[in-house]
Symmetry: C2
Subunit: 300 residues, 2 copies
């Protein structure tokens, strides 16, 4: 188990994502290093009101503390009370153009320790796509790239991590998925450190290939007020998910992370409208009927 190698990978991945996105946006990222009084810190990189991104956050954090927060030990009560180390990279991109989906990446490593007991560690992560006005070929490309990321790690792994993603990014109070999914995994410590690290690296390295092609294809499509209004409305669901359900957000807020860095995932402009329903047959209705449904996007 080599923490330092994981840290180097995460920092390098953040740099590569930031560099590529800055080139596409035409705006440099603002870099904000922060320290946490209880231990650790991070670097938040962001664009606001950029050429392409209305808000883009690519964060690295590495925190440790005396007590694993409840959001991390809820699923593993045997770890409650242990000290912890956690590091990871999180990216959430909110493009201005409603034809470009919002995308989320997370790769993380956690360890829970207690004097006299062997340390418990695990990797987690994934990426998922939240379109407003979707294109089938974009959905297929994203999911196929997710499948490619996991191709070397077992025949069933992509299917399991796709299902996990669909289950995780689900708004129970709306009976609605957050978007069209992708892959999600957690508690990964088998068959061993090297293999788990390799899988996590592969997920991280497939993020730009999964997203950049559809960003470049759609970022200059013309749109108007109607598309922006629908985007703002749908972004409300993103806020609801992140504040009500997302374990990463809750872990960050509970572990004394930096609030402004954690909440960089929230969209810049959002609207709520009472009981709004898309007109049947409209482009907006298509999102619900053709995309926010369980589908095998990657195909056979």
């Amino acid at each position: 188990m080599d923490h330092a190698a994981v840290r180097r990978f995460f920092l390098g991945l953040q740099d590569r994502i930031v560099e590529r996105l800055a080139a596409i946006d035409g705006t440099p990222f603002r870099r904000d290093a922060w320290e946490r009084p209880e231990g650790g810190g991070g670097t938040a990189c962001l664009i606001e009101e950029g050429g392409v991104f209305e808000r883009a956050g690519v964060n690295f954090s590495h925190v440790h503390g005396a007590q694993l927060p409840p959001s991390a030990s809820a699923q593993r009560p045997e770890l409650a009370g242990r000290s912890f180390r956690a590091m990871g990279v999180s990216a959430v991109l909110h493009p201005r153009n409603p034809y470009v989906p919002t995308v989320h990446l997370n790769v993380r490593w956690l360890a829970a320790e207690r004097p006299g007991a062997p340390p418990v560690w695990w990797f987690g992560g994934g990426m998922d796509l939240t379109p407003y006005y979707p294109f089938t070929e974009d959905a297929v490309h994203f999911h196929r790239t997710c499948r490619d990321a996991l191709a070397l790690f077992g025949t069933d792994t992509h299917r399991r991590y796709k299902t996990w993603c669909d289950d995780y990014f689900y708004l129970r109070h709306r009976r609605e998925p957050r978007g069209i999914g992708g892959i999600f995994f957690d508690d990964l410590s088998e068959p061993g450190f090297d293999s788990c690290f390799e899988l996590t690296r592969s997920v991280g390295e497939h993020f730009l290939p999964a997203y950049v092609p559809l960003l470049e294809r759609r970022k200059d499509l013309p749109y108007g007020e109607r598309e922006r209004a629908f985007q703002a409305y749908r972004r409300g669901r993103y806020v609801e998910f992140n504040l009500i359900y997302d374990r990463g957000t809750l872990f960050g807020l509970q572990s004394g992370g930096r609030t402004e860095a954690i909440l960089m995932s929230l969209p810049p402009r959002v609207a709520w409208r009472y009981d709004w329903q898309p007109e049947p047959g409209s482009a907006e209705a298509r999102l619900y009927t053709e995309f926010l449904v369980a589908r095998d996007w990657a195909g056979g």
Copy 2:
């Protein structure tokens, strides 16, 4: 204990609030009756894009179920597993003019029952104010009316319920109060049903007198893009509070209430900006330095 009288009071209060606000806004409320498959239902009344209110929701609900939701029994574990009845009125008003504060009222009655055990019941409620560009005389008027509402119910009651409100409407992750507070109470069952019901009625009946004068004084003040932008930014805090902390919101979502009615409390247009700070000495800074601080607004 007379459920029917409580229900009559709640329904009448909803009608009186709706009638008065509709007259001020110049727009009739939309009325949406809904039923809950597991039992009960409610009536949502709302204005969207009105003359004065960008969004105003005044809801009545009366629900029952086989199992008290965790958000209600967290503080009272001895009640877990009991069946429950809950009814109440909730109002959240989001005026368009940034010089008029957002306001929230809730009055509620709950009962938890188990065969063979005496029923446990309690009242709860309160009201609180969330200004953007505040006026001292408005804050004083609101808090004095809250004090008046409780004047007949014990010398210490207003002080205790004001403190409870300050403690409850607090965003721990921001180390910031949601607004300037008001009054909040819960688990009220002493000294007896009649007296608790009377206190709850008094809180409900003082809502319009607490809010309408400042609504009428400020609703026609001129404002511009700067004030709207700050209002949208501050409304983000309202969303964060309601989705992360608010027990009423969580109770509603967990008890199978109607999502659209529960989330009517969310503001219509919201913005998040990274690490935004008001300019020292500005009107926006005054909100933080003079109003979002613990103060005895009602005075001696």
